[in-house]
Amino acid sequence: MHCLSCNQIIVPEITWSNFILPDRLSNCCSTCSEKMSLIHDPTCSICGREQHSAQKICSDCSRWQANHRMKNLILYNRSVYHYDDFIKSIVARWKYRGDYQLYQLFTINFQEKFKQYFPKPPKPTYLVPIPLSSERLKHRAFNQAEALAQLLPYPSLNILTRTEGEKQSKKNRKQRIMMKNPFTLNRELPAEAKSVILIDDIYTTGTTLRHAATLIQQAGCEQICSYTLAR
């Protein structure tokens, strides 16, 4: 087997768990997996960024909480990895270069951390991946948020449509927050949906996720969380 990230040959260590479940065998060599740095406690109780301070919530989140429309819109976000240079390069290869299979590098951690952060979600819980514009989806051939949602044991709803394709990364925080909602709801939320977890690859300012959450809330869902690969 070869490491998906660096192409080194991996000599797999056979343990009981991967003997029984062969897909538990990692496609990531130990050098690369050490470079993928996990977020550890303590974290901001809202956005899930690692922080070692007396405050429960970080300064970004206190700003969100000060806005009465945004307050508690997303109950909490959790993320698996620090968005450092290494994860940045992996994510760039994954979604921009389009090396779809790289998702296998973080499958196990993405699943394990989900169990830890969302231990008993109310039933039924739905996942809502953040969509790409149809033009970009056609170009990239896959949506990274959908690929992530598929790793989790909950049904996924593609109820959001992205109406504009402007590049977010070119905007600063204020411009992003002021932007009009880039999403629309393309159908009703199932009536029984009590809880929704939004799925995306990266939590940057939290604006995109809150735009999506606004629509989900308007559709009648009260409990909205989000889960991303990196923060």
Partner: protein, 461 residues
């Protein structure tokens, strides 16, 4: 139509790499001027797929994607994805319209320098190979032979005949270095320089200087293919590059291989007479190659574990015939280059000492500083074994028996010394703990070349 032909003839491109609007493109497709080729080649009687662009057929480098563009689950190539994703629903296109035509020139080469007798001999042989459309010619030229200038006459002949020429080299810095020299030599010929960071990788010209990787985007383009340093990484190590190179040339192309240190297969074919070979055993300044000396160093391993250079090294260092020369010290690993720098600096407090290796972000600057003599002593891994020229250095190899120092590496390393006509004789010394076949073979080859040089010089006089 010639505009499109000159731009797309011989290229193998993704739709996104063809900068034509959809209407023009469709029209050209209808006129059968572009042909669509499947992204993957399926070998007959085998289930194995191969990427048409890069030749990759390794399973772990053939990805599978549930594609939302075409709603099928299919393959994509992970190996060449850096150059845009090739996948089943993202095919490749080749130009099938009229062939490219280049303006005719009576005298394309403006280079006015003079060749040495030995260079002249090689240049004539190259012209002959191109005129007679020979399939292959090995140009076995020692480090410092001045190989670029030897090529000019042959290239000029090819351009006169309206042919298309490519010089492919494994390294981007060689592309950057050669570009202005070719521009000066062939001022009226369309010329393009391609490497990963060059930005204009969609240009097409009669004369192409490129890294071997960029040949991925060519199919049956070139009449003359010159492969520089055919023995070097990655050409030597990656079997897909020969696949790509062979695809990039026309059926009756002439292949010229340039090397100072051919690997086994070429050497064997050359010795058997299966591969036409021209030797250039003399440097352009006419002086023989410095022959490496071997120095048994019993306490080598012990010194290195203590991050010290052995006493025997210092014995040599202080008794060099010309203490003004800079010193280039080769070590086998990056770790050793790092560990030895500080102690070495302590031993040489009057001097500037530093180290350089492949992962060093300041690599280019350090090499430049050494060239400017702002650095006196440079510790390096094999990354400086070839391609770089310093006018006046002595060269030491520490632990020359290490696996990284194969015959080719040692010949190349020795080739760093004595490059300048003003100081044509640097010292080369291998510190070792037991002779290896690689060391002996390197010395043998260097002596052979010097002997060949004597014969040629005798013939001349």
């Amino acid at each position: 139509m010639n505009k499109y032909a000159n731009r797309y003839d011989g290229r193998l491109l993704l739709r996104s790499e063809i900068s034509l609007d959809e209407i023009t493109f469709l029209q050209l497709r209808n006129e059968k001027k572009f042909q669509r080729l499947s992204a993957f080649i399926q070998k007959r009687y085998s289930s194995q797929l191969q990427c048409r662009r890069c030749g990759n057929n390794k399973k772990h480098l053939l990805g599978i994607i549930p594609c939302q563009a075409c709603k099928q689950t299919h393959h994509y190539c992970r190996n060449c994805i850096e150059m845009g994703r090739v996948m089943t629903c993202e095919p490749l296109y080749i130009w099938t319209g009229p062939p490219a035509k280049w303006p005719s020139q009576a005298d394309p080469c403006q280079w006015s320098g003079e060749l040495t007798h030995v260079q002249q001999r090689a240049a004539e042989r190259i012209v002959q190979a191109i005129q007679a459309k020979e399939k292959e010619l090995l140009i076995w030229a020692v480090c410092g032979a001045g190989k670029t200038e030897m090529l000019f006459a042959g290239i000029a002949h090819a351009i006169q005949a309206g042919k298309r020429v490519c010089l492919a080299t494994p390294r981007a810095d060689v592309v950057r270095e050669l570009y202005p020299r070719f521009q000066q030599a062939f001022p009226n010929t369309t010329l393009v320089a391609l490497h990963g960071g060059s930005g204009n990788n969609h240009d097409t010209a009669q004369l192409t200087i490129t890294t071997t990787h960029q040949l991925l985007r060519y199919q049956q383009a070139f009449d003359i293919m010159i492969i520089d340093e055919i023995d070097a990484f990655p050409f030597h190590a990656d079997q897909r590059l020969p696949f790509v190179t062979n695809r990039s040339v026309k059926k009756n192309a002439t292949m010229l291989y340039l090397t100072a240190t051919p690997r086994k297969n070429l050497k064997k074919r050359s010795n058997k007479g299966e591969l036409a070979t021209i030797f250039v055993p003399v440097r352009y300044h006419g002086q023989p190659l410095p022959v490496p000396r071997l120095k048994m160093t019993a306490q080598l391993a012990r010194s290195l574990t203590r991050a010290k250079l052995p006493t025997i090294f210092w014995g040599w260092y202080h008794q060099r015939s010309n203490p003004n020369r800079q010193v280039l010290i080769f070590v086998p690993t990056i770790a050793q280059a790092n560990h030895l720098t500080e102690p070495l600096q302590k031993n040489l407090p009057q001097q500037t000492v530093t180290s350089v290796h492949a992962n060093d972000p300041d690599r280019t600057e350090k090499v430049q500083q050494f060239r400017n003599k702002q650095i006196d002593t440079l510790l390096t891994t094999t990354i400086l074994e070839r391609g770089v020229t310093f006018p006046s250095v002595d060269v030491a190899v520490i632990d020359a028996g290490h696996d990284v120092f194969d015959e080719a590496a040692l010949v190349q390393i020795a080739g760093r010394a004595g490059r300048s006509p003003n100081d044509p004789t640097g010292e080369v010394i291998f510190f070792h703990q037991g002779k290896t076949e690689a060391m002996l073979a390197a010395i043998r080859v260097i002596k052979q070349m010097n002997k060949k040089a004597c014969v040629i010089n005798r013939e001349k006089s």
